[in-house]
């Protein structure tokens, strides 16, 4: 792992070539052997490493990226969150034909934005095999917040098995990886812990799950991950340095294929300044959840002489990614408890109506009760939230306010409802009950403003990513609504986003849980009209 980090740094430095605002970057997709937590597997690397090299671009730069495929299967790279021409977006079958073995494809685009982004493979399950890396686009004008140094924190989930085999296992038996199912002893415990009148509730709740043929312990599809910070395991302990008195910008990217994280740095308040590469009104938090494919930039002010654990707990609490902020390499700080494994509540599976607006602020009272709550009350929608400490501020979508209003504030011309659906038993996922392979494209008209309303009818959270077009999150902030490339929707939740259709061509639109996208929760969006 150490040597791989060194490789990353070398590759990175060779890429930083400050000259004219037009640079050429050369990337090679290749197989590599990787040993993580004692198990050696074949993965797929970018320039020999995973994460691949940081692309540090400048706003206004004309970017040329040559991507050479040395695999024996097709590959591709997609620039996640970058607004560019449809042909440069890197989705095989939609943007282009993919990159055949032995071929080099040249991507050209102008970086007309700034912030923290990432790039990743969009072919087969290569993203899970290691094909992802950070992008930083430096703004033409300095960001409206101060910092003295920065670190990229790219979070990942490395599977200790082939992701193709994992999918085949899920097709055979959808609970193949769930070793946290409820037992008769759990029932006995809940029964004996319940007061007289509540004992029937315990039974009713079990029966309700059984009637629906759903499992409240079904929080993640696959287990067996090592969670990584910048390619390093918790034992490796990635080290980020600071000097006394410095403000440190941490650019968090969730590049995991299947894992949501809850991020905190015990002892430090984090001031969130960017979400999905977009500046927001700074908000101070103790913890933030990061959906797959989202990015959050935070500023921290570590104290001299202290070390701090950067702690990213996997949503199902099966493990964590960890690094350390310190003045000296190799320092360690206390590692927090993971906390209990969350369970879905019946409320989360009721007729969904809660939006992120109903999310408690994290100082949420009674999260513990909620995990056993089946009354279908106003808390529905975040039933899978783990118990949180009292008085801790946890970021929610309600906290996101754009720093400056965006130009297009028209009311939407029309609404498109997308029900997020799936068949857990068969392990396939869909939109409006139709898999990608059986669905025609969604059609948006050039120049219109479309409201997309997601209704999550499944028991899993889905991070929906629209390529090529920004989604303005409808979170009650009006003109200051934040724009995002990836919006996560909790079980039972309904959430809307307004899209200005200002790009032409065909775009991918999908759940960013890799196995969900691969099994059907995916659509092609065709923009009708506009100059091609």
């Amino acid at each position: 792992m150490r040597s791989k980090l060194a490789g990353l740094l070398i590759a990175t430095s060779s890429l930083i070539a400050p000259a004219a605002l037009a640079d050429v970057y050369n990337l090679e997709i290749d197989q590599f052997e990787r040993t993580v937590d004692g198990k050696t597997l074949t993965g797929v690397s970018i320039n020999g490493t995973s994460p691949g090299p940081l692309l540090r671009l400048r706003e206004g730069e004309d970017v040329t990226i040559n991507v050479t495929n040395t695999l024996d299967v097709d590959t591709s790279l997609h620039w996640h969150g970058i607004i560019l021409d449809a042909g440069m977006d890197g989705v095989p079958g939609i943007s282009f034909d993919g990159i055949a073995p032995g071929e080099t494809y040249t991507y050209n685009f102008t970086a007309n934005q700034s912030g923290t982004y990432w790039y990743h493979g969009h072919s087969a399950l290569q993203e899970q095999e290691g094909v992802f890396a950070p992008i930083i686009i430096e703004p033409a004008q300095p960001d409206p917040f101060e910092y003295d140094r920065e670190h990229v924190i790219i979070l990942a989930d490395w599977l200790n098995d082939s992701p193709y085999k994992a999918l085949a296992n899920l097709k055979k038996r959808s609970n193949y990886y769930n070793y946290n199912r409820r037992t008769v002893f759990d029932l006995w415990r809940d029964w004996t812990n319940a007061d007289g009148g509540e004992k029937t509730d315990v039974i009713q709740e079990r029966l309700a799950w059984g009637r629906m043929r759903m499992d409240p312990t079904d929080i993640v599809d696959i287990t067996g991950y090592s969670f990584l910070v910048n390619g390093e395991t918790p034992e490796d302990n990635w080290s980020g340095l600071f000097e006394p008195g410095e403000k440190v910008r941490l650019r968090f990217i969730n590049a995991a294929a299947m894992t949501y994280f809850d991020v905190k740095i015990p002892g430090l308040k984090m001031t969130v300044v960017q979400a999905d590469g977009q500046n927001i009104e700074p908000v101070s938090v103790d913890e933030f959840p990061i959906a797959i494919a989202e990015t959050f930039d935070v500023i921290v002010e570590p104290e001299a002489g202290q070390s701090y654990t950067i702690f990213a707990a996997a949503k199902d609490r099966s493990g964590y990614a960890r690094g350390t902020l310190s003045e000296t390499p190799g320092a360690e700080a206390a590692i927090p408890e993971l906390g209990p494994r969350p369970e879905l509540t019946m409320a989360a599976m009721g007729e969904g109506h809660a939006s992120h607006g109903a999310m408690a602020d994290g100082e949420a009272t009674g999260m513990d009760e909620m995990t056993m709550d089946m009354s279908g009350d106003a808390h529905s929608g975040h039933g899978e939230m783990p118990a949180m400490e009292q008085g801790q501020k946890v970021l929610t979508y309600d906290d996101l306010r754009a720093l400056t209003p965006y130009t297009d504030r028209r009311a939407p011309d029309r609404e498109v409802e997308l029900r997020l659906t799936g068949n857990m038993e068969r392990y396939f996922w869909s939109i409006n009950d139709v898999k990608f392979g059986d669905a025609g494209p969604l059609e948006f008209n050039y120049g219109e403003r479309v409201r997309i309303t997601f209704k999550n009818e499944t028991m899993m959270e889905h991070p929906m990513h629209l390529h090529g077009l920004w989604m303005d999150l409808v979170n009650g902030e009006g003109d200051m609504a934040p724009r995002k490339h990836t919006i996560t929707i909790r079980p039972g939740e309904t959430i809307s986003a307004d899209v200005t259709v200002d790009a032409t061509g065909s775009w991918a639109f999908h759940c960013h849980i890799l196995q969900h996208a691969a099994t059907g929760m995916f659509r092609q969006v065709d923009v009708i009209g506009g100059a091609q």
Partner: protein, 231 residues
Amino acid sequence: MKPNFLIVGALAMATALPALATEGDPVYNYTLIEADIAEIDDETVGAFDAQGWVGGDYNRFWWKTEGEFADGDFEDAEVQALYSRYISKFWDAQIGVRYDLEPKGETYGVIGLQGLAPYFFEVDAAAFVSSSGDVSARFEATGELLFTQRLILEPGIALDFYAEDDPSRQIGSGLATAEYSAQLRYEFTREFAPYVELAYEEAYGDTADFQRLETGSADDTVFKVGLRTMF
């Protein structure tokens, strides 16, 4: 019903699968095998029960086989080849053929329903028509009770029905036999799960009378030791 027609039909459906499976429906497969031995009347009886499928999410070729052997000879053995079609979230409709190798060669047409009933009961219900026109049906259901994540109790029920009496096979019409079972398995892995199973078999109606004449008893309790594997 012409058995040859059924066989040809099933094969045609099976070979048509790859074409059906190309459009966004990649091909996967599944196999589940249970094999066990028991001591019945001082005789060691072995049994196997296996099924699996090949196909996509909507269209599958589904096969099933089960049999019993004692002293190296098969007493019962059958195979089924079915086209299985996804009809609703938890259910597949199945159509195809069954062939009995033992006790005597016989071909049947099969139509069935397989899936997951509320409360997580795995259900397999099928009706059979033999080449000579005899109609029968089978209903099987199993549930799951977890003691731990790996120690799992699986209660089961299997019912056999016949439309008409068939004295040559010691079968009476209506509910002929039922098996109530409890399998306790330990899943070292999903793929490797040894088990013990207690099964109570009982005959009903005329079938019970036939059995009492033959053996003096219409029920039996069997203790089995076996291995379950899936891949």
